[in-house]
Symmetry: C2
């Protein structure tokens, strides 16, 4: 009864490592079950079985169902955010192969941040529980999407300053880039289906093509090409 709920404050050692393993196992299983069943539909028994852990152990670590849920959301949020920013770090630095680089970048984003398990969890849970637990996801909203858009907008601004793009509103362009990237995948994701590599590539190509048609600095050439083809 001492500090069962906060074992991370104790001294290091194998015992603690064992506890961390249990915690991680619980978090992973809980994320899975909450994602499938929602908060109300998820039962602690199911989570316990999937985590290969006694139900009582869950109560030892997280005193309530809601405490566990909060911890899961927190965990997924942190992981998703760090993944997203690490992906942003791979944004093309120069415009030498802009189209190919942007396609590859968008595929990475979609594969590792949007279409993966964490992305699915967040879409699903934010949408169903976001209104019931606003405080839970508010921090994510501030530190997640908004900062992502700003960061991506800044990256586009750099390309724009270099003359590779002609963008007036960088944040709008950033949102549109991601929206175009999802255009061909949305219905699939709505049903929880994971796209194939071919679908990911095709979606990214379509998105980047349109994005560069709208914002590419070589618009005159593209326009002339189109005019020549159609004329």
């Amino acid at each position: 009864m001492k500090n069962l709920a906060t074992p991370e404050k104790r001294s290091d050692g194998p015992t603690q490592r064992g506890q961390f393993k249990k915690r991680a196992s619980i978090l992973e299983a809980a994320a899975d079950v909450f994602c499938r069943q929602g908060f109300a539909g998820a039962s602690l028994d199911e989570i316990a079985v999937e985590a290969h852990v006694s139900r009582q152990t869950i109560y030892n670590h997280y005193c309530e169902k809601e405490t566990l849920f909060v911890a899961v959301v927190d965990d997924v949020l942190k992981r998703a955010n760090s993944m997203l920013f690490s992906m942003l770090a791979t944004f093309p630095a120069n415009a030498a192969n802009l189209e190919e680089d942007l396609v590859a970048f968008l595929i990475r984003i979609n594969k590792n941040c949007v279409c993966n398990q964490d992305g699915k969890f967040l879409r699903r849970l934010v949408q169903t529980e976001g209104e019931r637990y606003p405080h839970l996801f508010e921090t994510w909203r501030q530190q997640g999407p908004d900062r992502i858009i700003s960061a991506l907008g800044a990256l586009f601004a750099r390309l724009s300053a270099g003359g590779a793009l002609k963008i007036d509103d960088f944040d709008v362009a950033a949102r549109q880039f991601l929206a175009l990237g999802n255009a061909d995948l949305q219905i699939m994701m709505l049903f929880g289906q994971a796209p194939t590599d071919e679908q990911l590539e095709s979606a990214a190509r379509n998105a980047v093509r349109t994005f560069l048609r709208a914002y590419g600095a070589d618009k005159l050439a593209a326009g002339a090409q189109l005019a020549a083809v159609s004329g």
Copy 2:
């Protein structure tokens, strides 16, 4: 016990009108509660109270909770589909005022199909229950999104044939049009918040501007404009 569950097959009359009223009231309340709480979290008591109806009446009309859920989904699906197609009928017929017309069209779509109660219900329920009840939404998927994209693509094809647009893949363009239209609204919708009229208009303007930059036939002029501004 005769045909309590199928009173629509009886002869006309005020009784039936009364029954229909009850049914409609139940459907409406159920849609509301299912949308807020999800299938597992919704209780029939809550639905009964919100419908101003006895719980037993619900069981008279829909023998099980799942039966009611199926009926609600069916109802919302039909309504949403018919609304969407009636909105498609307002697609600009000519390219006289293309940008303004497309903005107004996109605002109508977003306001009446995407951001309204039915749109919210569908997004939420398809995402949470779509995997559990695939048969429920499969019909919608076939008759909804796919047909919508085809229809919208055909409308773009008409404009394209008229020389107002330069589009290579009409279905891709249709998906991108809708995706761009949602770009600025997605986060809000994820949290279940309804956008203001100003936000709707701004989102539509940003979307149409980018769409026409990418696909507008007067791209040369637009490109020249940009070049002149930036040069």
